[in-house]
Symmetry: C2
Subunit: 330 residues, 2 copies
C-alpha cells in the first residue's frame, strides 16, 4: 500500500481510507488512489483493512472424513448456511493423527478465521486448549460436546428406538454391531447407543449375552465380518441392531451369502437413513444429518452476531419401517 | 501497522520487515516492534506482507454437491494433497443456480485465492470468462475440460466396458439408464457414455431401440423409476447399463419388488464402484475417484510451482465382476 500512496501522492492513511471505501476522502482523491491501485493490480482486500483484530469472514470447518455420506451431508447443510451469510469456509480434513496434530498446531498460530466448526469428532483436552488460544467462536455439529455449543441427535433415544422395535416384534436374541475408531476415544454418542441396547434388553427382561455384542472399526465390510462372527455364536441372533446403515448393509450381505433370508430368518435395523437405505429396503432410525449442519450454521451466525441462541440443540430421530425387519420365525 | 510503527518508533518499512521476519532489521529493533505488535494483538499475517499480488496460499474448490459420495471422495483426495502442501482450501458449494451466479460474480472480484479447482461440473462460457478475470491457475477434476488442465476417466471406455460385458454374456435386449442434470448441459462425459452404448450395440449387430434408453435426473430413486418404465416396454430388457451405481441399485430394487431375480431374470451393471456396490454385490466399472482428486491436487501444485506437468490426465477404469450380471435365461 505504501507504493500506492506514494504514486497517488497521498498519505498511507488516506490511501487506506480510499481503498476501503471509508468516509472522509475527497472523490477526486479516491479516484486517483483507485486508479493507481488498479494499475498495480492492487485488489481491495478485506484482510488489508482488518489487520488489527477485525473479522476475516472465514470459518474453519474441521472434519475427519469427506467421502463418508454422514460428514458430506453435515458439511453440505453447514456450508450452504454459511455461504448464504457471505462467510467463507476454510476446510480442514483431519483424517489421520498427523493431520490432527498439524491442524491444532498451526491454525491457532494464525489469525485466519472468526470461528471454528468441529464436525462430529471429539476433541482431546490439549486440542481444546489449542483452539481456545484463538479466542474464536466454536460450535460442534453431528455430536454432543461437553465444551462447545452443539447440534446433535439423542444417541440414546435413537438406540432405544431401534432395539425397542426389534423387541416389540418379538425378538429375544438381538445382536449388536457397534463401532470404534482406533484413533478416537470417548465419543459420547457411542457410549449412549450401547447403554440404550443394554437398557432395552433389561426392560424387556432379556438377559445380556456378550457374545452378541461385536465391536468393529468403521466400514460396511466390517459390518459384514461382524455378522459372520455373530452367525458362529451358539444360538445365533434372530435380529441385528447395527449402529449405522452401512454396517446393516454389510450384515445383510453376509446373511444372504449364508443363504439366510432377510427378514425371514434374521431382521436387521440400522441408524441414519443413508440415501441407499431406501433403495435397499432397510429399516432404520432416521437422523436428519443435513439439518444438523444447517442448524449448526445458524447457531454459529447467531453467536457471531452476539444473539442469544440455544447452545444445546438436539434434533429428533424417527423409526423408518421398511422391509428388513419382521417378527422372528417360530 | 501504522500504529505499530509509530509506537515502536520505526518506519512502516522497518515495522513491516520486522514483522515478516525479513533480513536487515537490528535484533533490538525487531524485538521492540514485536513487543508493540503483541500488545496490539497484531498477528503476523500472511496476507499483510503479500498485499500487492503475492500468494494467498489458498485454493478455491468449487463443487456442486457435498453429500454425494463421488464429490466427497474427489474432495477428500484433493484436500489431502493441498493440505500436505500447506495450502488452505476455501470451499464453494454451488448447488443451485443462484449459488453459481453468486460464486462467479463474487469470487473474481476479490483476490482471495491463488488457484481454483472445479470438481466435476461443466462451466458455462460466461463463467469461464469470470474465472479468467482472476488470472489464477485453474484445474478441473472428475470430468474432462476443454478449457483447463484436467484429471478424469475416459467415459467412452467406461461405457464400452460395461455394455461390452453385457453383450459378451449374450444379452441382446440391453436397456440404458442415463442421467441429465436439469441445471447443467453439455458435460462431455454424458455424451461419451451414450456413444459407447450405441457403438457397443452397433458392433454387436444389435439394433437400437429408443424405448430402451431412459434418461432421468440424478438419484437412486430415479433409477428405480427408470427401471419401472423399462419393465413396461414390449419385449423388456434382459440387462441394464446404468450410468452410476446408485441408479443400478435403484433398478435392482424395482426388479426385486416386481418379483424378478437379479441376475437370473435381469442383469444390472453400474459405473463407479461406490463403496456400497461391494456390499450389495453389484457388478460395476470402477473409477478411482479419490485418486482423481489426488492427481488434480498434484497437478495444481506443479502448475503453481511453474513445473512442466501433464495437463490432460486420464485415469484407468476397470470391470469389477460381482453378482449382479449373468448370461440371459433362454
Amino acid at each position: 500500500m505504501a507504493d500506492v500512496a506514494r504514486l497517488a501522492g497521498v498519505s498511507m492513511a488516506t490511501a487506506s481510507r480510499a481503498l476501503s471505501g471509508s468516509a472522509g476522502v475527497a472523490p477526486a482523491t479516491r479516484e486517483r488512489v483507485l486508479a493507481v491501485a488498479a494499475e498495480f493490480s492492487y485488489v481491495v482486500s478485506p484482510e488489508a483493512s482488518r489487520l488489527a483484530g477485525g473479522a476475516t469472514r472465514r470459518v474453519a470447518v474441521v472434519v475427519p472424513h469427506l467421502s463418508r455420506w454422514f460428514f458430506g451431508a453435515l458439511l453440505e447443510g453447514l456450508d450452504g448456511v454459511l455461504g448464504d451469510a457471505d462467510l467463507d469456509v476454510l476446510l480442514y480434513q483431519v483424517k489421520h493423527a498427523s493431520d490432527r496434530r498439524d491442524f491444532f498446531e498451526r491454525l491457532p498460530a494464525r489469525r485466519k478465521v472468526d470461528a471454528v466448526v468441529v464436525l462430529a469428532f471429539p476433541l482431546r483436552e490439549h486440542e481444546r486448549k489449542r483452539l481456545e488460544l484463538m479466542g474464536v467462536t466454536i460450535v460442534a455439529a453431528g455430536g454432543r460436546s461437553d465444551s462447545y455449543p452443539y447440534v446433535c441427535i439423542d444417541d440414546y433415544a435413537a438406540g432405544r428406538r431401534a432395539v425397542d422395535h426389534l423387541v416389540t416384534l418379538g425378538h429375544r436374541r438381538i445382536g449388536m454391531i457397534a463401532t470404534v475408531d482406533p484413533e478416537e476415544s470417548g465419543w459420547p454418542g457411542t457410549v449412549r447407543r450401547r447403554e440404550a441396547y443394554h437398557d432395552a434388553l433389561r426392560d424387556a427382561g432379556i438377559p445380556r449375552d456378550e457374545n452378541l455384542e461385536v465391536t468393529v472399526e468403521w466400514g460396511g465390510c466390517h459390518g459384514a465380518e461382524a455378522m459372520e462372527r455373530l452367525l458362529r455364536v451358539t444360538d445365533p441372533p434372530t435380529a441385528i441392531f447395527a449402529w449405522a446403515d452401512e454396517y446393516a448393509l454389510g450384515a445383510i450381505r453376509t446373511l444372504r451369502r449364508a443363504g439366510l433370508d432377510v427378514p425371514g430368518d434374521v431382521s436387521v435395523i440400522g441408524i441414519d437413513d443413508h440415501p441407499l437405505a431406501e433403495l435397499t429396503d432397510l429399516t432404520t432410525v432416521r437422523q436428519p444429518v443435513r439439518q444438523q449442519g444447517i442448524l449448526a450454521g445458524q447457531m454459529l451466525i447467531g453467536l457471531l452476531r452476539g444473539d442469544a441462541v440455544d447452545r444445546a440443540v438436539t434434533v429428533p430421530t424417527g423409526l423408518v419401517l421398511r422391509g428388513s425387519t419382521a417378527p422372528p420365525r417360530h
